[in-house]
Amino acid sequence: MNDIALNAETPLQPVAGAGCRVPYRVFTDPAYYQREQENIFKGETWSFVALEAEVPEPGDFKSTFIGETPVIVTRASDGTVHVVVNRCAHRGALVCREVRGNRPNLECVYHQWAYDLEGNLIGVPFRRGLKGQGGMPGDFDMTQHGLRKLQTHSVGGLVFASFSETVEPLRDFLGPIVVEQIERIMCKPIQVLGDQRQLVHGNWKLYAENTRDPYHASLLHLFHNTFGLYRSTQTGKSVMDANKRHSLLYSIAASNDDAADKQAYGDSRTFDTEFKLQDMSLLKGRQEFDDGVTLVILAVFPNLVLQQIQNTLAVRQIVTKGTDAFELVWTHFGYADDDAEMQAIRLKQTNLIGPAGLISMEDGEAVEIVQNAIIGENQATSYIAMGGGRAENADHLVTEGAIVGFWENYEKLVGYGTAP
């Protein structure tokens, strides 16, 4: 396999001025994608795999992916959660062929090799031969042929796993801001409302940018701006962890000032006072959090977004499917103690998010129109400078600083060469 020098072949032209420039080839060149699979998804990172509430009982399992690698999340009989690679130690078959269910153990259909829910090999048919013939070699040691186990930890009921034995502890990888935000939303037992799956025809990193981007949110999404769910004029912040991997974007809808905001947005397509709903029950909500924050987009590197938009709560998991596609798995939830009115509110507000979401559908198009325009472009770069062009926190929402933070981390993990 070629060890391609990713940043040497087409050196970037020196450019004057502030701002971060990302070469478009990182979104299209398979060499970067392969390096990402090794250095990010199988590297010194933690990937989100499940909510604990998706595997509540012993024997429950869920199959999913970290990058491209299929994995199984299980709840063992002692109540602990485990994550293993979904590949039989024998000849490489998928052990778990269903999305979810409950089983006392895991069994490969091909030769019935059986594993316990922690991934230990517990059964090999004909291990000692049949009628005195065949059998495994004398030195066959079952403990050496289990499913590959990943380090697994939870924070706030979100399960993460890592291929690395040397990665920093999960809470350190996330950092205090992310932990606090997870625990803010995951403050009491949740109830899974269901899943949605969206296939977006673009590189996964374009979604990582999109979810670290308070600049676009009121300019792309008319529903956000016109109905005051989100405006860049709101009180809010764009904040990263100390390592600038992750991004917290939050805002407070009560800080809207319609007259002033209208002035600030001028003739913007997305602040449309003519646009009215016949049935406003779509937007009816209830304040749930004492801090008054009504929007949280917590982008956790590499593959998770935890969100609160009004009363919709969800995790969005990014599953890479090649250089120009990813699947976004939305798991929506409420709280176990939601009354009937809150359940109804959440159900109706779900119309705003997900693949059919009056807000969220548009991020799919935003990603795709970039992917379509950068095909074959080996030289040009993007230009990321709103708010100053540095990986800096902001106590406002007119910035792309968190996007720059993402790319600084990408450069460390994968590498491409940045602006001078």
């Binding site: 949605q196 969206q198 709903l277 016949q278 049935d279 029950s281 119309n351 198009e365 935003a366 795709e368």
Partner: protein, 162 residues
């Protein structure tokens, strides 16, 4: 009051035409006429089979009034940003599951094919409608339409009614 056989055939025809009209209005981009096929106090739910079979309520689209249907259409026309596309519905026969008075419960298989600007037609969404149709008025109306779709993986987005 139960339907006699000839009346049953008439109801069968009415509900088949209503579903054909639903498909035609959407496919021909006559979206402003589409909400008029529904009762004022209606339910229109588009839900993945993955959730429906687990008795989970999470739907891609959930509307409980004709007003919300109108709002979805106005959003499509004026607000939402999405790739240019067209639909073509292919419907199976509508089967009467049950009748009660002038209300008919009906199941119909459907497939929505999508064509984008590149000109390729793909299978976008496939599933079944379970409808409650009121045949008692001047014209039949959907009291509720439930689209349970097998295509759990939605291609890019869903903005046009299924």
């Amino acid at each position: 009051m139960e339907f006699a056989t000839s009346e049953r055939l008439q109801v069968q025809q009415l509900v088949t035409e209503l579903n054909a009209l639903h498909a035609e209005l959407i496919d021909d981009d006559r979206l402003e006429e589409w909400p008029e096929l529904f009762a004022t106090d209606c339910n229109y739910t588009v839900i993945a089979r993955e959730n429906f079979e687990r008795n989970l309520s999470l739907a891609a689209v959930f509307c409980d009034s004709r007003g919300m249907l109108v709002d979805r259409i106005v959003s499509l026309r004026k607000a939402n940003i999405y790739p240019v596309h067209g639909y073509r519905h292919i419907l199976g026969p509508s089967r009467l599951i049950s009748t009660s008075g002038f209300q008919a419960k009906v199941q119909t298989n459907y497939t929505v094919l999508m064509t984008r600007t590149d000109g390729n037609t793909t299978i976008y969404n496939s599933g079944k409608y379970i409808d409650e149709i009121d045949c008692g008025g001047d014209r039949p109306l959907f009291r509720s339409k439930l689209a349970v779709f097998d295509t759990n993986l939605i291609d890019t987005m869903m903005v046009r009614p299924i």
